[in-house]
Symmetry: C2
Subunit: 278 residues, 2 copies
Protein backbone atom coordinates (compact mmCIF):
# COMPACT_ATOMS: atom_id res chain seq x y z
CA UNK A 1 0.00 0.00 0.00
CA UNK A 2 1.45 3.35 -1.06
CA UNK A 3 0.02 6.63 0.22
CA UNK A 4 -0.54 9.55 -2.13
CA UNK A 5 1.55 12.47 -0.80
CA UNK A 6 -1.20 14.83 -1.97
CA UNK A 7 -3.59 13.43 0.62
CA UNK A 8 -1.22 12.10 3.28
CA UNK A 9 1.45 13.73 5.40
CA UNK A 10 4.13 11.20 6.38
CA UNK A 11 6.84 11.55 9.02
CA UNK A 12 9.64 9.01 8.89
CA UNK A 13 11.39 8.07 12.12
CA UNK A 14 14.62 6.67 10.69
CA UNK A 15 16.11 5.55 13.99
CA UNK A 16 12.91 3.67 14.79
CA UNK A 17 12.48 2.07 11.37
CA UNK A 18 8.90 3.33 11.31
CA UNK A 19 6.72 6.04 9.83
CA UNK A 20 3.46 7.68 10.81
CA UNK A 21 1.01 9.30 8.40
CA UNK A 22 -2.07 11.46 8.74
CA UNK A 23 -4.70 11.92 6.03
CA UNK A 24 -4.77 15.60 5.04
CA UNK A 25 -7.35 17.79 3.38
CA UNK A 26 -5.07 20.71 2.54
CA UNK A 27 -1.91 22.59 3.40
CA UNK A 28 -2.99 25.80 5.11
CA UNK A 29 0.38 27.50 5.44
CA UNK A 30 4.10 27.07 4.88
CA UNK A 31 7.04 29.31 5.67
CA UNK A 32 10.74 29.26 6.37
CA UNK A 33 11.76 31.27 9.41
CA UNK A 34 15.35 32.11 10.42
CA UNK A 35 15.21 28.96 12.56
CA UNK A 36 13.16 26.32 10.79
CA UNK A 37 10.58 25.33 8.19
CA UNK A 38 6.99 25.40 9.45
CA UNK A 39 3.95 23.80 7.80
CA UNK A 40 0.31 23.83 8.89
CA UNK A 41 -2.16 21.27 7.55
CA UNK A 42 -5.85 20.57 7.90
CA UNK A 43 -6.09 16.82 8.50
CA UNK A 44 -9.06 14.52 7.92
CA UNK A 45 -9.39 13.25 11.50
CA UNK A 46 -6.85 15.05 13.71
CA UNK A 47 -7.90 18.67 13.21
CA UNK A 48 -5.08 21.02 12.41
CA UNK A 49 -1.48 19.87 12.36
CA UNK A 50 1.78 21.78 12.88
CA UNK A 51 4.95 20.34 11.34
CA UNK A 52 8.45 21.74 11.88
CA UNK A 53 11.34 20.61 9.67
CA UNK A 54 9.27 17.60 8.64
CA UNK A 55 8.50 16.49 12.20
CA UNK A 56 5.00 16.62 13.65
CA UNK A 57 4.86 19.07 16.54
CA UNK A 58 1.20 18.77 17.46
CA UNK A 59 -2.29 18.05 16.26
CA UNK A 60 -5.45 19.74 17.42
CA UNK A 61 -6.93 16.39 18.36
CA UNK A 62 -4.34 14.80 20.59
CA UNK A 63 -2.04 17.57 21.92
CA UNK A 64 -3.88 17.47 25.25
CA UNK A 65 -1.98 14.36 26.36
CA UNK A 66 1.40 16.06 26.06
CA UNK A 67 0.45 19.52 27.30
CA UNK A 68 -1.47 18.29 30.32
CA UNK A 69 1.19 15.80 31.37
CA UNK A 70 4.01 18.33 31.01
CA UNK A 71 2.24 21.07 32.96
CA UNK A 72 0.22 19.38 35.68
CA UNK A 73 2.68 16.66 36.62
CA UNK A 74 5.34 19.27 37.41
CA UNK A 75 3.03 21.84 39.00
CA UNK A 76 1.33 19.38 41.34
CA UNK A 77 4.75 18.01 42.30
CA UNK A 78 6.00 21.41 43.50
CA UNK A 79 4.70 22.31 46.98
CA UNK A 80 3.86 25.90 46.06
CA UNK A 81 4.46 26.87 42.42
CA UNK A 82 4.22 30.62 41.92
CA UNK A 83 6.84 31.42 39.28
CA UNK A 84 7.01 29.24 36.17
CA UNK A 85 9.49 29.33 33.29
CA UNK A 86 8.67 27.60 30.00
CA UNK A 87 11.55 27.02 27.59
CA UNK A 88 10.20 26.50 24.08
CA UNK A 89 6.46 25.87 24.12
CA UNK A 90 5.79 28.33 21.30
CA UNK A 91 2.41 26.79 20.47
CA UNK A 92 1.23 27.97 23.93
CA UNK A 93 -0.58 24.72 24.78
CA UNK A 94 1.60 24.13 27.84
CA UNK A 95 1.22 27.77 28.87
CA UNK A 96 -2.54 27.43 28.78
CA UNK A 97 -2.41 24.43 31.14
CA UNK A 98 0.01 26.21 33.51
CA UNK A 99 -2.28 29.24 33.74
CA UNK A 100 -5.12 27.02 34.93
CA UNK A 101 -3.33 26.89 38.31
CA UNK A 102 -4.42 29.71 40.62
CA UNK A 103 -1.24 29.33 42.65
CA UNK A 104 0.78 30.47 39.63
CA UNK A 105 1.45 34.22 39.73
CA UNK A 106 3.89 34.61 36.84
CA UNK A 107 4.84 32.59 33.75
CA UNK A 108 7.76 33.50 31.52
CA UNK A 109 7.91 31.72 28.18
CA UNK A 110 11.16 31.78 26.21
CA UNK A 111 10.58 30.59 22.65
CA UNK A 112 13.33 31.04 20.11
CA UNK A 113 11.02 31.42 17.10
CA UNK A 114 8.30 34.03 17.44
CA UNK A 115 6.66 32.76 14.23
CA UNK A 116 5.65 29.53 16.01
CA UNK A 117 3.60 31.56 18.46
CA UNK A 118 2.14 33.85 15.81
CA UNK A 119 1.06 30.85 13.73
CA UNK A 120 -0.37 29.11 16.80
CA UNK A 121 -2.44 32.23 17.52
CA UNK A 122 -3.83 32.06 14.00
CA UNK A 123 -4.24 28.32 13.45
CA UNK A 124 -4.57 26.90 16.98
CA UNK A 125 -6.54 29.64 18.74
CA UNK A 126 -7.79 27.29 21.48
CA UNK A 127 -4.19 26.73 22.63
CA UNK A 128 -3.63 30.49 22.81
CA UNK A 129 -6.85 31.39 24.60
CA UNK A 130 -4.95 32.42 27.75
CA UNK A 131 -2.17 34.36 26.03
CA UNK A 132 -3.65 37.67 27.22
CA UNK A 133 -3.57 36.56 30.85
CA UNK A 134 -1.60 39.29 32.68
CA UNK A 135 0.49 36.59 34.39
CA UNK A 136 1.94 35.49 31.00
CA UNK A 137 5.17 37.10 29.74
CA UNK A 138 6.58 36.27 26.32
CA UNK A 139 10.29 36.43 25.52
CA UNK A 140 11.39 35.50 22.03
CA UNK A 141 15.00 34.43 22.22
CA UNK A 142 17.48 31.73 23.11
CA UNK A 143 16.45 29.62 26.10
CA UNK A 144 20.05 28.61 26.82
CA UNK A 145 21.12 32.25 27.15
CA UNK A 146 18.03 33.24 29.12
CA UNK A 147 18.70 30.55 31.69
CA UNK A 148 22.43 31.38 31.85
CA UNK A 149 21.65 35.02 32.63
CA UNK A 150 18.64 34.69 34.94
CA UNK A 151 19.18 35.16 38.70
CA UNK A 152 19.44 32.28 41.14
CA UNK A 153 16.33 31.16 43.02
CA UNK A 154 14.07 33.12 40.68
CA UNK A 155 11.79 30.29 39.48
CA UNK A 156 9.75 27.50 41.09
CA UNK A 157 9.05 25.29 38.09
CA UNK A 158 10.86 25.03 34.75
CA UNK A 159 9.07 23.28 31.89
CA UNK A 160 11.25 22.45 28.90
CA UNK A 161 8.83 22.02 26.04
CA UNK A 162 11.45 21.60 23.37
CA UNK A 163 11.90 19.86 20.05
CA UNK A 164 14.10 16.79 19.76
CA UNK A 165 17.77 16.86 20.81
CA UNK A 166 18.98 17.31 17.24
CA UNK A 167 19.83 20.77 15.92
CA UNK A 168 18.97 23.92 17.90
CA UNK A 169 17.52 22.09 20.92
CA UNK A 170 20.56 19.86 21.46
CA UNK A 171 22.04 22.01 24.24
CA UNK A 172 18.78 21.77 26.17
CA UNK A 173 19.48 18.08 26.83
CA UNK A 174 22.93 18.62 28.36
CA UNK A 175 24.31 19.04 31.87
CA UNK A 176 25.47 22.71 31.58
CA UNK A 177 21.92 23.78 30.75
CA UNK A 178 20.41 21.62 33.50
CA UNK A 179 22.96 23.08 35.90
CA UNK A 180 21.79 26.60 35.03
CA UNK A 181 18.21 25.46 35.59
CA UNK A 182 19.16 24.06 39.02
CA UNK A 183 20.64 27.45 39.94
CA UNK A 184 17.41 29.25 38.97
CA UNK A 185 15.27 26.75 40.85
CA UNK A 186 17.22 26.52 44.10
CA UNK A 187 16.66 23.44 46.21
CA UNK A 188 12.84 23.49 46.20
CA UNK A 189 12.29 23.69 42.46
CA UNK A 190 10.96 21.17 39.99
CA UNK A 191 12.00 20.79 36.37
CA UNK A 192 10.27 18.75 33.68
CA UNK A 193 11.54 18.05 30.18
CA UNK A 194 9.91 16.06 27.39
CA UNK A 195 12.03 12.93 27.03
CA UNK A 196 11.06 11.17 23.81
CA UNK A 197 9.78 7.60 23.31
CA UNK A 198 10.74 4.98 25.92
CA UNK A 199 10.50 2.34 23.20
CA UNK A 200 12.43 4.05 20.38
CA UNK A 201 14.75 6.45 22.23
CA UNK A 202 15.73 4.56 25.35
CA UNK A 203 19.44 5.38 25.05
CA UNK A 204 18.62 9.05 24.73
CA UNK A 205 16.30 8.90 27.70
CA UNK A 206 18.94 7.27 29.87
CA UNK A 207 21.57 9.76 28.73
CA UNK A 208 19.27 12.66 29.49
CA UNK A 209 18.57 11.36 33.00
CA UNK A 210 22.32 11.10 33.57
CA UNK A 211 22.85 14.67 32.31
CA UNK A 212 20.16 15.92 34.71
CA UNK A 213 22.00 14.29 37.60
CA UNK A 214 25.31 15.72 36.39
CA UNK A 215 23.57 19.09 36.25
CA UNK A 216 22.86 18.88 39.98
CA UNK A 217 19.45 17.25 40.34
CA UNK A 218 19.65 14.33 42.78
CA UNK A 219 16.24 12.95 41.86
CA UNK A 220 14.87 12.20 38.40
CA UNK A 221 11.61 10.41 37.59
CA UNK A 222 10.26 9.58 34.16
CA UNK A 223 6.55 9.48 33.45
CA UNK A 224 4.93 8.04 30.34
CA UNK A 225 1.74 8.75 28.42
CA UNK A 226 0.16 8.04 25.02
CA UNK A 227 0.91 10.48 22.21
CA UNK A 228 -0.45 9.18 18.95
CA UNK A 229 1.31 11.60 16.60
CA UNK A 230 4.82 11.07 18.02
CA UNK A 231 7.00 8.10 16.99
CA UNK A 232 5.72 4.84 18.56
CA UNK A 233 2.62 6.57 19.99
CA UNK A 234 4.14 6.42 23.47
CA UNK A 235 5.98 9.37 24.92
CA UNK A 236 7.62 10.46 28.16
CA UNK A 237 8.57 13.43 30.28
CA UNK A 238 11.23 13.44 32.96
CA UNK A 239 10.93 15.31 36.25
CA UNK A 240 14.07 16.47 38.08
CA UNK A 241 14.48 18.08 41.47
CA UNK A 242 16.04 17.81 44.90
CA UNK A 243 12.94 16.09 46.18
CA UNK A 244 10.11 14.84 43.98
CA UNK A 245 8.04 13.20 46.69
CA UNK A 246 5.60 16.03 47.38
CA UNK A 247 2.74 15.28 44.97
CA UNK A 248 -0.13 17.56 46.09
CA UNK A 249 -2.58 14.76 45.59
CA UNK A 250 -5.56 16.21 47.44
CA UNK A 251 -5.32 19.47 45.53
CA UNK A 252 -4.99 17.61 42.24
CA UNK A 253 -8.07 15.55 43.13
CA UNK A 254 -10.00 18.74 43.97
CA UNK A 255 -8.79 20.73 40.95
CA UNK A 256 -11.48 23.07 39.67
CA UNK A 257 -10.20 23.31 36.10
CA UNK A 258 -10.98 20.76 33.42
CA UNK A 259 -8.56 18.41 31.71
CA UNK A 260 -9.07 15.72 29.10
CA UNK A 261 -6.40 13.16 30.09
CA UNK A 262 -4.79 14.22 33.39
CA UNK A 263 -6.25 13.37 36.77
CA UNK A 264 -4.85 12.08 40.06
CA UNK A 265 -5.02 8.42 39.03
CA UNK A 266 -3.34 9.21 35.71
CA UNK A 267 -0.60 11.19 37.47
CA UNK A 268 0.24 8.24 39.71
CA UNK A 269 -0.15 5.77 36.85
CA UNK A 270 2.20 7.72 34.59
CA UNK A 271 5.03 7.15 37.09
CA UNK A 272 4.74 3.34 37.04
CA UNK A 273 8.01 1.95 35.70
CA UNK A 274 7.72 -0.82 33.09
CA UNK A 275 9.84 -3.87 33.80
CA UNK A 276 12.20 -3.19 30.88
CA UNK A 277 12.96 0.32 32.18
CA UNK A 278 14.01 -0.85 35.64
Amino acid sequence: MQLDPKTWFTEVCQEGGLAFSLAIKEKLHEETTPYQHIEIYQTEAFGRLMVIDGFIMLSERDNFFYHEMMAHSALFTHPHPRRVLIIGGGDCGTLREVLKHDRVKEVRQVEIDERVTRLAEKYFPELCESNDDPRAHFHFGDGLRFVAEAPANSVDVIIIDSTDPIGPAEGLFQAPFYSDCRRLLGDKGVLVHQSESPLIHLDLLNKMRAEMKKGGFPQVRTLTYPQCVYPSGWWSATLAGDSLSSFREQEAAAKTFSTRYYNVDIHRASLAVPEFLR
Copy 2:
Protein backbone atom coordinates in the same frame (compact mmCIF):
# COMPACT_ATOMS: atom_id res chain seq x y z
CA MET B 1 7.47 12.23 1.70
CA GLN B 2 6.37 9.05 -0.06
CA LEU B 3 7.47 5.62 1.09
CA ASP B 4 8.65 3.00 -1.37
CA PRO B 5 6.35 -0.02 -0.97
CA LYS B 6 9.33 -2.27 -1.73
CA THR B 7 10.99 -1.23 1.53
CA TRP B 8 8.01 -0.22 3.67
CA PHE B 9 4.92 -2.05 4.85
CA THR B 10 2.04 0.39 5.43
CA GLU B 11 -1.24 -0.24 7.26
CA VAL B 12 -3.95 2.35 6.76
CA CYS B 13 -6.47 2.89 9.55
CA GLN B 14 -9.26 4.52 7.54
CA GLU B 15 -11.55 5.25 10.48
CA GLY B 16 -8.66 6.97 12.28
CA GLY B 17 -7.42 8.95 9.29
CA LEU B 18 -3.92 7.67 9.97
CA ALA B 19 -1.41 5.12 8.75
CA PHE B 20 1.54 3.32 10.29
CA SER B 21 4.53 1.97 8.39
CA LEU B 22 7.46 -0.26 9.20
CA ALA B 23 10.68 -0.41 7.20
CA ILE B 24 11.07 -3.93 5.82
CA LYS B 25 14.02 -5.94 4.59
CA GLU B 26 12.06 -8.70 2.86
CA LYS B 27 8.83 -10.61 2.68
CA LEU B 28 9.50 -14.03 4.18
CA HIS B 29 6.18 -15.72 3.46
CA GLU B 30 2.72 -15.16 2.06
CA GLU B 31 -0.28 -17.44 1.81
CA THR B 32 -4.05 -17.43 1.56
CA THR B 33 -5.74 -19.79 3.98
CA PRO B 34 -9.46 -20.69 3.96
CA TYR B 35 -9.92 -17.83 6.44
CA GLN B 36 -7.55 -15.01 5.58
CA HIS B 37 -4.42 -13.76 3.84
CA ILE B 38 -1.25 -14.04 5.93
CA GLU B 39 2.08 -12.28 5.30
CA ILE B 40 5.33 -12.51 7.24
CA TYR B 41 8.02 -9.82 6.89
CA GLN B 42 11.50 -9.24 8.21
CA THR B 43 11.53 -5.60 9.31
CA GLU B 44 14.49 -3.30 9.78
CA ALA B 45 13.92 -2.47 13.46
CA PHE B 46 10.93 -4.50 14.75
CA GLY B 47 12.13 -8.04 14.06
CA ARG B 48 9.62 -10.24 12.31
CA LEU B 49 6.14 -9.02 11.51
CA MET B 50 2.87 -10.93 10.96
CA VAL B 51 0.17 -9.28 8.88
CA ILE B 52 -3.33 -10.68 8.36
CA ASP B 53 -5.59 -9.25 5.65
CA GLY B 54 -3.39 -6.15 5.56
CA PHE B 55 -3.55 -5.51 9.30
CA ILE B 56 -0.52 -5.87 11.55
CA MET B 57 -1.05 -8.66 14.06
CA LEU B 58 2.26 -8.52 15.88
CA SER B 59 5.94 -7.71 15.69
CA GLU B 60 8.73 -9.59 17.38
CA ARG B 61 9.88 -6.40 19.06
CA ASP B 62 6.78 -5.07 20.76
CA ASN B 63 4.28 -7.94 21.10
CA PHE B 64 5.23 -8.27 24.78
CA PHE B 65 3.07 -5.31 25.76
CA TYR B 66 -0.09 -6.90 24.43
CA HIS B 67 0.57 -10.50 25.42
CA GLU B 68 1.66 -9.68 28.96
CA MET B 69 -1.22 -7.30 29.63
CA MET B 70 -3.81 -9.73 28.26
CA ALA B 71 -2.53 -12.71 30.23
CA HIS B 72 -1.28 -11.40 33.56
CA SER B 73 -3.95 -8.78 34.19
CA ALA B 74 -6.67 -11.42 33.97
CA LEU B 75 -4.78 -14.20 35.75
CA PHE B 76 -3.76 -12.07 38.74
CA THR B 77 -7.35 -10.78 38.98
CA HIS B 78 -8.79 -14.29 39.40
CA PRO B 79 -8.38 -15.62 42.95
CA HIS B 80 -7.27 -19.10 41.83
CA PRO B 81 -6.94 -19.59 38.08
CA ARG B 82 -6.52 -23.27 37.19
CA ARG B 83 -8.41 -23.68 33.89
CA VAL B 84 -7.83 -21.13 31.14
CA LEU B 85 -9.51 -20.84 27.75
CA ILE B 86 -7.93 -18.74 25.00
CA ILE B 87 -10.13 -17.81 22.04
CA GLY B 88 -7.96 -16.87 19.06
CA GLY B 89 -4.36 -16.31 20.11
CA GLY B 90 -2.97 -18.42 17.27
CA ASP B 91 0.49 -16.84 17.49
CA CYS B 92 0.79 -18.46 20.95
CA GLY B 93 2.28 -15.37 22.64
CA THR B 94 -0.61 -15.12 25.10
CA LEU B 95 -0.43 -18.87 25.74
CA ARG B 96 3.25 -18.56 26.63
CA GLU B 97 2.47 -15.89 29.22
CA VAL B 98 -0.43 -17.91 30.69
CA LEU B 99 1.78 -20.97 31.10
CA LYS B 100 4.21 -18.95 33.24
CA HIS B 101 1.63 -19.21 36.05
CA ASP B 102 2.16 -22.32 38.20
CA ARG B 103 -1.43 -22.14 39.40
CA VAL B 104 -2.62 -22.87 35.86
CA LYS B 105 -3.24 -26.59 35.32
CA GLU B 106 -4.86 -26.58 31.89
CA VAL B 107 -5.05 -24.21 28.94
CA ARG B 108 -7.31 -24.78 25.95
CA GLN B 109 -6.67 -22.60 22.93
CA VAL B 110 -9.32 -22.37 20.23
CA GLU B 111 -7.90 -20.76 17.09
CA ILE B 112 -9.93 -20.87 13.90
CA ASP B 113 -6.94 -20.89 11.55
CA GLU B 114 -4.34 -23.57 12.22
CA ARG B 115 -1.98 -21.92 9.71
CA VAL B 116 -1.49 -18.96 12.05
CA THR B 117 -0.09 -21.30 14.68
CA ARG B 118 2.01 -23.27 12.21
CA LEU B 119 3.52 -20.06 10.85
CA ALA B 120 4.13 -18.73 14.36
CA GLU B 121 6.01 -21.95 15.18
CA LYS B 122 8.23 -21.36 12.17
CA TYR B 123 8.70 -17.58 12.20
CA PHE B 124 8.12 -16.62 15.86
CA PRO B 125 9.63 -19.59 17.70
CA GLU B 126 10.12 -17.63 20.93
CA LEU B 127 6.33 -17.15 21.21
CA CYS B 128 5.82 -20.89 20.77
CA GLU B 129 8.51 -22.05 23.17
CA SER B 130 5.90 -23.43 25.61
CA ASN B 131 3.68 -25.10 23.04
CA ASP B 132 4.87 -28.54 24.15
CA ASP B 133 3.86 -27.88 27.75
CA PRO B 134 1.54 -30.79 28.68
CA ARG B 135 -0.94 -28.30 30.13
CA ALA B 136 -1.52 -26.76 26.67
CA HIS B 137 -4.29 -28.16 24.45
CA PHE B 138 -4.84 -26.90 20.91
CA HIS B 139 -8.22 -26.90 19.21
CA PHE B 140 -8.45 -25.54 15.70
CA GLY B 141 -12.02 -24.45 15.11
CA ASP B 142 -14.67 -21.85 15.68
CA GLY B 143 -14.47 -20.14 19.07
CA LEU B 144 -18.15 -19.17 18.99
CA ARG B 145 -19.20 -22.80 18.60
CA PHE B 146 -16.68 -24.09 21.14
CA VAL B 147 -18.02 -21.72 23.76
CA ALA B 148 -21.65 -22.51 22.88
CA GLU B 149 -21.03 -26.23 23.40
CA ALA B 150 -18.69 -26.23 26.41
CA PRO B 151 -20.15 -27.15 29.82
CA ALA B 152 -21.04 -24.58 32.48
CA ASN B 153 -18.50 -23.76 35.19
CA SER B 154 -15.71 -25.44 33.25
CA VAL B 155 -13.25 -22.52 33.01
CA ASP B 156 -11.73 -19.99 35.41
CA VAL B 157 -10.34 -17.43 32.96
CA ILE B 158 -11.27 -16.73 29.34
CA ILE B 159 -8.86 -14.67 27.25
CA ILE B 160 -10.24 -13.44 23.94
CA ASP B 161 -7.19 -12.71 21.84
CA SER B 162 -9.08 -11.91 18.67
CA THR B 163 -8.71 -9.78 15.59
CA ASP B 164 -10.82 -6.66 15.15
CA PRO B 165 -14.62 -6.80 15.22
CA ILE B 166 -14.89 -6.79 11.45
CA GLY B 167 -15.36 -10.03 9.53
CA PRO B 168 -14.96 -13.42 11.26
CA ALA B 169 -14.33 -12.01 14.75
CA GLU B 170 -17.46 -9.82 14.78
CA GLY B 171 -19.54 -12.28 16.83
CA LEU B 172 -16.86 -12.34 19.53
CA PHE B 173 -17.76 -8.74 20.44
CA GLN B 174 -21.48 -9.41 20.99
CA ALA B 175 -23.68 -10.25 23.96
CA PRO B 176 -24.67 -13.82 22.95
CA PHE B 177 -21.00 -14.84 22.92
CA TYR B 178 -20.26 -13.07 26.19
CA SER B 179 -23.31 -14.76 27.68
CA ASP B 180 -21.91 -18.17 26.71
CA CYS B 181 -18.59 -17.16 28.28
CA ARG B 182 -20.38 -16.17 31.49
CA ARG B 183 -21.99 -19.62 31.61
CA LEU B 184 -18.59 -21.33 31.25
CA LEU B 185 -17.02 -19.13 33.91
CA GLY B 186 -19.71 -19.26 36.57
CA ASP B 187 -19.75 -16.48 39.12
CA LYS B 188 -16.05 -16.59 40.05
CA GLY B 189 -14.59 -16.33 36.56
CA VAL B 190 -12.72 -13.54 34.82
CA LEU B 191 -12.85 -12.70 31.14
CA VAL B 192 -10.53 -10.37 29.23
CA HIS B 193 -10.91 -9.23 25.64
CA GLN B 194 -8.67 -6.94 23.60
CA SER B 195 -10.69 -3.76 23.11
CA GLU B 196 -8.98 -1.62 20.46
CA SER B 197 -7.69 1.96 20.75
CA PRO B 198 -9.30 4.24 23.35
CA LEU B 199 -8.42 7.20 21.12
CA ILE B 200 -9.57 5.88 17.73
CA HIS B 201 -12.24 3.31 18.62
CA LEU B 202 -13.98 4.80 21.63
CA ASP B 203 -17.50 4.08 20.30
CA LEU B 204 -16.57 0.47 19.74
CA LEU B 205 -15.05 0.21 23.22
CA ASN B 206 -18.18 1.61 24.83
CA LYS B 207 -20.40 -0.69 22.78
CA MET B 208 -18.30 -3.70 23.72
CA ARG B 209 -18.53 -2.83 27.43
CA ALA B 210 -22.31 -2.60 27.07
CA GLU B 211 -22.43 -5.98 25.30
CA MET B 212 -20.42 -7.55 28.12
CA LYS B 213 -22.95 -6.26 30.64
CA LYS B 214 -25.83 -7.49 28.48
CA GLY B 215 -24.06 -10.85 28.36
CA GLY B 216 -24.29 -11.10 32.15
CA PHE B 217 -21.10 -9.58 33.54
CA PRO B 218 -21.96 -6.98 36.19
CA GLN B 219 -18.42 -5.54 36.32
CA VAL B 220 -16.26 -4.39 33.42
CA ARG B 221 -12.94 -2.57 33.68
CA THR B 222 -10.80 -1.33 30.82
CA LEU B 223 -7.03 -1.21 31.07
CA THR B 224 -4.72 0.59 28.66
CA TYR B 225 -1.13 0.08 27.50
CA PRO B 226 1.23 1.16 24.72
CA GLN B 227 1.23 -0.89 21.54
CA CYS B 228 3.35 0.78 18.90
CA VAL B 229 2.25 -1.31 15.90
CA TYR B 230 -1.51 -0.91 16.46
CA PRO B 231 -3.40 2.20 15.31
CA SER B 232 -2.62 5.22 17.53
CA GLY B 233 0.06 3.30 19.46
CA TRP B 234 -2.28 3.03 22.44
CA TRP B 235 -4.38 -0.05 23.02
CA SER B 236 -6.75 -1.51 25.59
CA ALA B 237 -8.14 -4.69 27.04
CA THR B 238 -11.39 -5.01 28.95
CA LEU B 239 -11.87 -7.28 31.95
CA ALA B 240 -15.34 -8.60 32.79
CA GLY B 241 -16.57 -10.60 35.75
CA ASP B 242 -18.93 -10.75 38.69
CA SER B 243 -16.26 -9.23 40.90
CA LEU B 244 -12.99 -7.78 39.65
CA SER B 245 -11.70 -6.52 42.97
CA SER B 246 -9.46 -9.44 43.88
CA PHE B 247 -6.09 -8.43 42.36
CA ARG B 248 -3.56 -10.87 43.88
CA GLU B 249 -1.11 -8.06 44.35
CA GLN B 250 1.34 -9.76 46.69
CA GLU B 251 1.62 -12.76 44.41
CA ALA B 252 2.10 -10.51 41.37
CA ALA B 253 4.83 -8.61 43.25
CA ALA B 254 6.54 -11.90 44.14
CA LYS B 255 6.16 -13.50 40.70
CA THR B 256 9.13 -15.71 39.86
CA PHE B 257 8.77 -15.48 36.07
CA SER B 258 10.14 -12.65 34.00
CA THR B 259 8.19 -10.07 32.06
CA ARG B 260 9.26 -7.08 29.98
CA TYR B 261 6.41 -4.64 30.59
CA TYR B 262 4.05 -6.06 33.23
CA ASN B 263 4.60 -5.66 36.95
CA VAL B 264 2.42 -4.76 39.93
CA ASP B 265 2.78 -1.01 39.42
CA ILE B 266 1.97 -1.35 35.72
CA HIS B 267 -1.08 -3.50 36.49
CA ARG B 268 -2.50 -0.84 38.80
CA ALA B 269 -1.45 1.97 36.45
CA SER B 270 -3.14 0.34 33.46
CA LEU B 271 -6.50 0.64 35.23
CA ALA B 272 -6.27 4.42 35.72
CA VAL B 273 -9.12 6.02 33.80
CA PRO B 274 -8.23 9.09 31.69
CA GLU B 275 -10.51 12.06 32.23
CA PHE B 276 -12.06 11.78 28.76
CA LEU B 277 -13.07 8.15 29.39
CA ARG B 278 -14.98 8.91 32.58
